[in-house]
């Protein structure tokens, strides 16, 4: 394959990158400058294998540069077919990059996830716990079902029980989410709250925090955590602001798409038949 470029991040400098910053496969990382900003990138002379190790290498470059510059991290793997393709991308989105670099100056990202300690929906809740009050004489009567001769009604009782339980979990998550978010928002400049992907999640969010407010942010998190010890918490960061880049996704050009495919070819090949289009 011809030389491609692995890109790591856009940075607010067109100066040189220290020689000891190593990229994928220990290749030198260079700054490809354009109009006072640049893209940190390294030459990629082989197919990308061992994705996890390479992703860590990518992240390490971004975090290292984050200590010296404001950076806009790029997704791993961001592979371009040539140096010209990298610069064309930089030129195309120059205004967006400038705006984001200004907005994200001295900001880092923290991620917070909270889950319930018990898996599944059925926490042993009984139908009588649901607080259901029949609305009329012919309404659905709790405990008054006719047994095996009324299987449809039994079925609906079970579905109702599950519905109420799910509703209660949802309300509990919303209540807790408001409390945690209120405490954290005080010290964050922006946030992205994600929809709860599974029933077990009660909170999933990322916050953009000014460097000088990191300690306060952490303290606010710990305060809520201590007040609600029944949940399980995951706190991560400081990360480069992956989730706060506002520019639209770049339209991948055909050569770039080809370069990504070629770069990953070895990896996908070794992953077996499971990796499709």
């Amino acid at each position: 394959m011809t030389d491609s470029y692995a890109a790591y991040c856009v940075l607010d400098s067109d100066g040189e990158i220290p020689e000891d910053v190593a990229g994928l496969y220990a290749c030198d990382v260079r700054n490809l400058p354009y109009g006072g900003i640049g893209v940190a990138a390294s030459v990629l002379t082989r197919s990308i294998d061992n994705l996890v190790a390479r992703a860590v290498e990518h992240e390490k470059v971004v975090e290292r540069l984050m200590k010296m510059h404001t950076v806009l991290p790029m997704r791993f793997p961001s592979v371009f077919g040539s140096r010209e393709a990298v610069l064309a991308m930089l030129e195309q989105h120059y205004g967006d990059f400038r705006g984001d670099l200004q907005r994200l100056r001295n900001q880092v990202e923290f991620g917070i996830r909270v889950v319930r300690p018990i898996a599944g929906l059925d926490f042993g809740l009984r139908i009588s716990d649901c607080g259901f009050v029949p609305q009329g004489e012919s309404a659905f009567q709790l405990g008054g079902c006719r047994g095996p001769e009324a299987p449809g009604k039994l079925y609906m009782q079970e579905r109702y029980r599950r519905h109420k339980h799910r509703q209660r979990l949802s309300e509990q998550a919303a209540q807790f989410g408001h409390k945690l978010d209120a405490a954290l928002s005080e010290f964050a400049s922006e946030k992205r709250l994600r929809s709860l992907a599974t029933d077990r999640f009660v909170f999933d969010g990322v916050y953009l925090v000014d460097n000088y407010r990191r300690v306060d942010f952490r303290r606010a998190f710990t305060g809520v955590k201590c007040s609600e010890p029944d949940f399980k918490y995951l706190f991560s960061g400081p990360w480069p602001p992956y989730n706060f880049i506002t520019m639209p996704a770049a339209e991948t050009t055909e050569p770039a798409r080809g370069a990504v495919a070629a770069a990953l070819a070895g990896c996908l090949g070794s992953a077996g038949d499971g990796a499709g289009a």
Partner: protein, 113 residues
């Protein structure tokens, strides 16, 4: 070689389990081959039927809560939904589909079901 960002939790196994479950919900690669095209279509059709079944169930529960269904009506609705669910299970078994397969990721809108 490690990242300098820290990940802190007192229950790593809980999050690993949940993130693995989440991973299964992410859009999978499309693998359209003559062998699996039938299964792909079955997955799509059954997902849509499941969506309709869940909507009917929610509507029935709403009407039960409001007290606008008689005992006989609840029984009839329950039997219908139960038979539909059983039939769905049979079809899932035929096509080798699990419950979690019956979903469509709608990107930023989340999952269909």
């Amino acid at each position: 070689m490690t990242s300098q960002a820290r990940v802190e939790t007192d229950s790593p196994e809980v999050f690993v389990e949940e993130l693995e479950r989440l991973q299964k919900k992410l859009p999978q690669s499309i693998q359209a081959t003559p062998q699996n095209v039938e299964k792909g279509l079955a997955k799509l059709v059954l997902t849509l039927i499941e969506l309709i079944r869940q909507l009917l169930e929610k509507q029935a529960i709403r009407r039960m809560e409001a007290g606008s269904l008689s005992d006989d009506q609840i029984e009839n609705v329950g039997l219908t939904l139960m038979k539909l669910e059983n039939k769905m299970k049979e079809l899932q078994a035929v096509f080798g589909l699990k419950d979690e397969d019956l979903n469509i990721n709608l990107g930023p809108l989340g999952d269909l079901l």
